[in-house]
Structure formats: structure tokens, C-alpha cells
């Protein structure tokens, strides 16, 4: 549903706005993967407006978020497709990150409050928990805002990726590959090709490894710790040349998510 024609628009399949670029290597006319389609805007009166606009993802912030959503077949009934547009809604990234961090941070409120008989002060039907995720839709959605910077050795353009739009290392790696690397020769079903690709970043077999800087300032290989733990400690990402990642454990074996005792970044 993202691209109109699956068969010959393999590049658009990948894509989420992978611009072919000024170097005209891949065709003389610039095409852009479209994040927006008319279907995304049920309220749209004039399709001409959207069809004439090519929204290419540029700083890569929302592309990561958009792809999983589209692959889910748009089952989500949400009329607001704001999450699929880069840089929309226009809220300063500082504010977005701040909302996200507030939602994420563990609150040791329980320690600061005794079980109080003064219920009149905190009289909300949802209960006493300030950040009760079940009821606070705002907080839940705010979790979707966690941009960290990503840089790649050899590519001068930094990007930001929304970590909270991902639920696993696979989708993150998938999105990063999409963001920085494009396959020249998609084989038939472009999406299957991509699904296989990210594991290369993770299992150390390719020329690049994915690393991250944690809260302590140390650079670690991505994939060592459970996803949730990674989310709470990651500060930024770097796709490093394997040759320069010598200090980090060089691994050729499969990642074992259960090996929690290996590293505790906190």
C-alpha cells in the first residue's frame, strides 16, 4: 500500500523516501518513496494535492517508524497518520524527547508517598499511579518519541532515529539499513530481501557493526542485552567499520538474548 506498483517499483518498495539523489545513478528522474498516500488521509478532499507532493524522508526520523506501520497493512484504524510524516507535527525535537523521557523514566514515587488516606488530593478515577500506562494514553503515545542520533562511518550525514518506534533489534537494524544503505539489486520481493539484510549488521559478518553509546559513555555492541534494557541505556548509535570495532567484542556466533549476565550497562 505504500507504493502503487509493487512489481516494478522495487526501489519505492524499500522505500521510504530513498531519494535517488543528484548523482543520477539510478535513473534520470528523481523519484521519491512516498510515505503519504491518499489512503493515509481519509479526510483528504483533493487527492491531487497529495499526489503531486513527494514526501521524501530526509533526516530519517520517521522512516523507521513508518515502515513497520505500513507493513502491518494499515490495520491500525487511526485517522491521524501524523506518525508517518517526517517532521510532523511541528513540535521541537527537544520537547518530543522530553515527553518521551518523562514517560520512560522509572518513577520511584512509591517510595516518596505513604499509602495516604488523603484521597481527596489525588482523586482520579484511574487510580493513584501517576504514570499508569493503561489509562494515560498520552503517556503511552509519548513513549513513541525517543530520537537518538545515528552516525555511520564514511557517511557525513547524521540522522536521528526514533527508537521507540521499534520493538526489537531486527526492526531497528532493518530501519537503519534502509536509512543509510540501499540495495542496488533488490531480488524480486524487495521486502524479503530486507528482512534478511539486517542480521548482517547484528551478527558481525558484514563490513559494518552497529554500536551504541550507553549512559556511562561506553561504546557497546548492539544486541548484547535485552531490548528493553538497551532502550533505557542507549544514548546514541554509530555504525562502525568492523575494522575499527576491534575494542568491542568481535563475535561471529549468534546472539543469545538470554545471556543477560554478559554485560550490564547500567
Amino acid at each position: 500500500m505504500l507504493s502503487r506498483d509493487v512489481a516494478d517499483d522495487a526501489e519505492l518498495e524499500l522505500g521510504l523516501g530513498l531519494s535517488i539523489g543528484g548523482r543520477t545513478k539510478h535513473g534520470s528522474s528523481r523519484e521519491y518513496g512516498r510515505i503519504l498516500t491518499a489512503q493515509d488521509f481519509p479526510s483528504l478532499v483533493s487527492k491531487a494535492i497529495i499526489n503531486s507532493n513527494n514526501v521524501a524522508s530526509v533526516s530519517g526520523t520517521k522512516r523507521a517508524a513508518a515502515e513497520p506501520a505500513s507493513q502491518e497493512g494499515g490495520g491500525d484504524d487511526s485517522p491521524t497518520s501524523a506518525s508517518q510524516i517526517v517532521g510532523w507535527p511541528p513540535i521541537r525535537s527537544y520537547r518530543m524527547n522530553s515527553l518521551s523521557n518523562q514517560a520512560k523514566a522509572p518513577h520511584s514515587m512509591e517510595g516518596k508517598r505513604t499509602v495516604s488516606k488523603k484521597d481527596e488530593l489525588n482523586h482520579t478515577p484511574e487510580g493513584n499511579r501517576l504514570y499508569d500506562r493503561k489509562t494515560s494514553g498520552a503517556v503511552k503515545e509519548a513513549q513513541n518519541l525517543g530520537f537518538v542520533k545515528v552516525s555511520v562511518d564514511g557517511i557525513p550525514i547524521g540522522r536521528k532515529v526514533d527508537l521507540n518506534a521499534h520493538t526489537s533489534y531486527e526492526t531497528l537494524a532493518h530501519a537503519l539499513v534502509n536509512m543509510f544503505f540501499r540495495s542496488m539489486n533488490p531480488i524480486g520481493d524487495g521486502e524479503k530481501e530486507l528482512v534478511n539484510r539486517p542480521s548482517k549488521l547484528l551478527d558481525g559478518l558484514s563490513a559494518f557493526v552497529l554500536t551504541y553509546e550507553d549512559k556511562e559513555g561506553d561504546w557497546m555492541l548492539v544486541g548484547d542485552v535485552p531490548w528493553g534494557m538497551f532502550l533505557s541505556s542507549v544514548k546514541r548509535l554509530r555504525i562502525m567499520r568492523t575494522s575499527e570495532a576491534g575494542g568491542l567484542a568481535m563475535r561471529s556466533q549468534e546472539i543469545n538474548w538470554n545471556q543477560m549476565e554478559r554485560r550490564n550497562p547500567i
Binding site: Y32, S59, T80, E141
Partner: protein, 585 residues
């Protein structure tokens, strides 16, 4: 022409403080130009690439205060790659070398390195004031240098910057002799703070009027700080959670009652609703209240709080206050001038918390309203027309409908008429942000009526080049135009090339502009920098082989569309710090 000696004229000029007025003065005649430039102390450069630092120093040798803006506004929304530029370091180097007596630096959307901060702290003996807004690139180490070396520091104001925490204990580095602080705002810092050092610093700063702390400052510590600084006028609270039955909380309530000068309250980066009543005693004096970071406060609590704030002039709030809450604001806050309603749930499906009804209620109650930023899920033409009639004093009107091309839900029509009413009624409108379904009509109205408009933000709007042309032709005072995802192309871009020399900048992204047209414009207007920003990616194979991307050049096919273009007038020529993905044509 001069009937008075220069010194007298200079005295007169001292009363002229606005930058635009001083610019006008300097155009009157040669001797006024000379007197003005030698006496100007406050210099404002809206685009750091429009002129070189050396030229600024040459023209204004008496400069004491430098204000600079760097990245284009859309950088706030991640539309500009973060290595684009906007570095302050060359400016600091130039100022330091020339030995000007710089006292104040105010930066917005610039890249500030620790090196820059260190250089500032060591180069200017009388340095008193550092204000950084939406900047990045520095760490707490840079702050350490400023704290330690700027012995006359009065103002350290960090607003919404991305600062890396290196656990530098920077606050400890204010020397014991430092007693001059008037403003200290570190609310955006994410790391820990030595609370004892902060308390001591506040205790020895009798002139402290503004204090905005970060999340690491607990309610406990806040109580102690406030007991040292009852003279505070502007307080930004960090963590506001505590057991309301505790002794600490009791003490806090009493301490707050003593702070009779507080007129501005903000922060609440972490807050429990049951703690809010502690601030009720100061609410009646409040003219400014910012709860836009206070997630998790239910509407009922917000409403209770607002009822105490009868003197409010500025309110920044989250949309969970709801339409009903805004009705309470409308009936309580008759002096309200500025309202900002932020979405607590930007990607949500629309628990429609605020709609056009809230805004209409506000317009009936708050007749002095002149500045608005309103995020909502829907808007109607009828509502906008009502608002326009009720509030003709808008200077800033920024409406963001979260679904960017949403029509009027009542009529399915575009919102052209609604915004048209706004520009027709608000004769003093200087800044406008559009959203919702919009055709070329809205731009026709803007061109016809928005005579004072200086800044226009457009997203997903318009039908043809005519839209943009109406604006360029009609808005004589236009300084900044930023457009994204709209069908404006070469005809619009090239309709009036001379116009861009009267403006600070133009941003167009995801529009229909081609490389050829940009080149033509650049050729025609040598006083403009026309930058093409190109986020090309490497192919996998190139990356795997350790390849580096080819720099963006102007050699592409002229017919290809340009993804992002940023042009600005400049006296400095193409900039020499442009990264590879930026090409100045």
C-alpha cells in the same frame, strides 16, 4: 545636516533601541551612519551566514551584545540534517581576536562547542550574559568553564538545548566569590546536580530573580533553595513529587507563601497532582504559567489550579486540559495575552481533547489575546471566523491541525475562509502558521490582507504556483517564508527574484522546484546563497567497500526536483563550512 555635536546626537540615539529603528537611522545620512555605528552596542544578526564576523566588528566596534541565529526554523522538526552548520566558533574567535568588550551572547539554533564556551569564558573580562536557545554541541564541561571563569556572570540561561552530560559538576565551579547571578536557568540539563552546591550558590546570590532548575532538583532541595531566595520572581521547578503528609512538604508550603514576588512559574518536569496545591498561594500573582512539560496532571487538577490564576497573561499548557478546561481559562484569565496548547499525545488517534470549541471559548473570554500556538485535531471555518471577530489583536497566530490536510469537518470545505478571516481582521498580524486543507485561495487572502506579515509557515497547502506568487507579491513586509510539501514550483520560485533580497530567507522542501530553476535564480541573484541540501544515501556496495558519498554538485539534471532548498540573502558569499551534502549554487 547636523545642528548638534556628535555627542548630543549619540545621546539621542541611545533612546533608540530597536534594531530596525537603528538600521533606519543609519540610512539617513553619512554622519548619522557613522555616529550610529560607532555607538551601537547591541547587534542582532538574524542569519549567521548573512555576514562575516569581521565585517560586523568593523562596522560596530563598540559591540557589547551579540545575538545570532543559525539554522533555519524547520531544523526544529528534524528537517535539516544535523551537520548542516550554524557554528558559533568562528564568531567567538573573531570577537576574541579583535578584543571587543563583549558582555553578552545570545544564540538560537546554533552549534556551540565546548571550545566556544571555553573561549568565551577566557576572552571577555566583562562577560555577564549567556543565553542559549535550542542549541546543541556542548557538554557540561563547557558550562564548567563558564561558571569558573566568568566572574561577573549575571545571566546563564539555557533554554531547550541538547546538552551532553559529562558529570562535570559544573555548578560546583562557581567560585565562592560569585555573587552576581540574576538569572540561572539549567532546566534542560539531563544530568545530576550537586544540590548542596546549588543551595550555597543561591544563598550567596542576593540578586537572583530567575531560577529554573532541572529534574534532578528534588522538592526537598527546592524548599531549601526557596528559603534562601524569597525574592525570586521567576521560578522553574524540577521534580515536584513528595509525600504530601511529610514535614518537608509542610515546610515547602510555608516557604512558598513567603515568595511574594513570584510572577512566573514553569518546569514541573516531574509532578504529582496531589502536590500542586502547594503552589496555590502564589497563583494569584502569576502572570506567566508554563505547565507544558507536566505530563500526567488530569484536567480536573489543571482547572482547579487555573481558577486561582486570575492575573495570567501567558499560559503554556498541554491539551489534556480539554475544551472544558479552556472554557475555565476563558472565564478566569481575562488578561490573557499569549496561549500555547501543546499536544500530550501527538501521534494519538485523537482522544479529541481540544477542538475548535476550546479556541472559540478562549476568544470570547480573553479579548486581549495576541499570541497563539494551538495544536488540535480539527478546526472549522466558522470557529476561525468567530475567533477573528473576537480577537482582532493577533500578532502571532499559529494553528496546527494534527492531520495536516484535514478539511472543515462540518462542511468538508478547505479552511481558506477561516484563515482569510484571521488575516483580514488582525491587521497587525506578523506571524502566521497554516494547517488543514487549504487551496490557493488562502494565499490570495494572505497576499491581500496580511500587510504586516513577516513570517509565514506553510505545510501541505495550496494547489499551484499561484498560491506562493500571491504571497510574494502581496506581503510587503515578508521576511521569512518556509514551505514544505506544497505544490509550488519553478514559476513561483522565479516569479520575483528581487523579492528575496528584501527577505531574510526562504525554505522550500518537498515542493516542485527543480534544480534548473534554482541555478537560474542563483545566477540572477548573486547576493543570495541558494543552498541545495541533498540527503543522498550510499548504496550498500559502496558502503561495504568503505566508500564515501560524492559531494552534492550542481551537475545533475536540471529537471530533477530539489528535495530541500534554503536560500538567504548574504554579504558573505557562499559559506566555507558547508558540509558535503550542501551545495551552494
Amino acid at each position: 545636516m547636523n545642528y548638534f555635536p556628535d555627542e548630543v546626537i549619540e545621546q539621542v540615539f541611545d533612546y533608540v533601541t530597536s534594531h530596525q529603528d537603528r538600521n533606519s537611522i543609519s540610512l539617513v545620512c553619512k554622519s548619522w551612519y557613522r555616529i550610529e555605528r560607532l555607538s551601537r552596542q547591541r547587534v542582532f544578526i538574524g542569519n549567521c551566514y548573512s555576514i562575516s564576523p569581521d565585517k560586523v566588528i568593523e562596522r560596530f566596534p563598540a559591540i557589547r551584545s551579540l545575538s545570532l541565529k543559525g539554522k533555519p526554523h524547520f531544523a526544529d522538526f528534524n528537517l535539516v540534517p544535523y551537520d548542516w552548520g550554524g557554528h558559533v566558533y568562528p564568531w567567538i574567535v573573531a570577537m576574541a581576536k579583535s578584543k571587543v568588550n563583549l558582555e553578552e551572547i545570545r544564540l538560537k539554533r546554533m552549534v556551540v562547542s565546548d571550545e566556544s564556551l571555553e573561549l568565551i569564558s577566557s576572552s571577555f573580562a566583562n562577560f555577564t550574559s549567556l543565553v542559549l536557545v535550542s542549541c546543541e554541541g556542548f557538554t557540561t564541561n563547557g558550562l564548567k568553564a563558564v561558571a569558573a571563569n566568568c566572574s561577573l556572570l549575571r545571566e546563564l540561561d539555557l533554554q531547550e538545548n541538547e546538552v551532553e552530560d559529562h558529570r562535570s559538576q559544573w555548578l560546583n565551579h562557581f567560585p565562592e566569590s560569585s555573587t552576581s547571578l540574576v538569572t540561572l536557568n539549567f532546566s534542560c540539563l539531563k544530568g545530576e546536580i550537586n544540590l548542596a552546591a546549588l543551595e550555597r550558590l543561591v544563598a550567596r546570590s542576593p540578586n537572583l530573580k530567575t531560577l529554573r532548575v532541572n529534574r534532578a532538583v528534588t522538592l526537598d532541595s527546592l524548599q531549601k533553595i526557596l528559603s534562601w531566595a524569597p525574592q525570586l520572581m521567576d521560578l522553574g521547578v524540577g521534580s515536584f513529587i513528595h509525600d504530601p503528609d511529610s514535614e518537608t512538604f509542610y515546610k515547602l508550603k510555608n516557604t512558598i507563601v513567603q515568595c511574594k514576588s513570584i510572577t512566573s512559574l514553569s518546569g514541573f518536569l516531574e509532578v504529582a497532582p496531589y502536590c500542586l496545591p502547594a503552589i496555590y498561594p502564589v497563583c494569584s500573582n502569576l502572570t506567566s504559567l508554563n505547565l507544558s512539560y507536566a505530563l500526567g496532571i488530569p484536567a480536573s487538577e489543571l482547572i482547579k489550579l487555573i481558577r486561582h490564576c486570575k492575573r495570567l497573561q501567558r499560559l503554556w499548557i498541554l491539551d489534556c486540559i480539554g475544551d472544558k478546561g479552556l472554557e475555565v481559562v476563558a472565564s478566569n484569565c481575562k488578561d490573557l495575552q499569549e496561549l500555547r496548547v501543546f499536544p500530550s499525545d501527538p501521534f494519538g488517534a485523537g482522544n479529541t481533547v481540544v477542538t475548535e470549541e476550546g479556541l472559540v471559548a478562549i476568544s470570547f473570554g480573553c479579548k486581549k489575546l495576541n499570541s497563539l500556538l494551538y495544536f488540535c485535531h480539527q478546526m472549522t471555518n466558522a470557529a476561525l471566523i468567530t475567533v477573528a471577530n473576537n480577537c482582532p489583536n493577533f500578532v502571532r497566530f499559529r494553528l496546527c491541525i494534527l492531520d495536516p490536510t484535514k478539511a472543515d469537518p462540518l462542511t468538508q470545505q478547505p479552511l481558506d475562509e477561516g484563515f482569510g478571516a484571521i488575516v483580514q481582521s488582525c491587521k497587525g498580524l506578523k506571524r502566521l502558521s497554516l494547517s488543514g486543507l487549504l487551496t490557493d485561495m488562502v494565499f490570495l487572502y494572505i497576499g491581500m490582507y496580511a500587510e504586516q506579515l513577516e513570517m509565514l509557515s506553510v505545510a501541505f497547502a495550496g494547489k499551484s504556483d499561484k498560491g506562493m506568487i500571491y504571497v510574494l507579491n502581496g506581503c510587503k513586509k515578508l521576511r521569512k517564508l518556509e514551505v514544505r510539501d506544497s505544490p509550488f514550483g519553478d514559476a513561483a520560485l522565479l516569479a520575483d527574484p528581487g523579492k528575496y533580497e528584501t527577505m531574510r530567507s526562504l525554505w522550500m522542501s518537498s515542493c516542485e522546484v527543480t534544480l534548473g530553476a534554482c541555478k537560474a535564480l542563483a545566477r540572477k541573484m548573486p547576493m543570495l546563497n541558494v543552498e541545495i541540501i541533498d540527503d543522498s544515501e550510499l548504496t550498500v556496495d559502496e558502503a561495504l567497500c568503505g566508500g564515501a558519498p560524492v559531494a552534492v554538485t550542481a551537475d545533475g539534471d536540471d529537471k530533477q526536483k530539489v528535495e530541500k532548498m534554503y536560500l538567504y540573502r548574504t554579504l558573505a558569499g557562499p559559506r566555507n563550512d558547508a558540509p558535503e551534502f550542501v551545495c551552494t549554487l
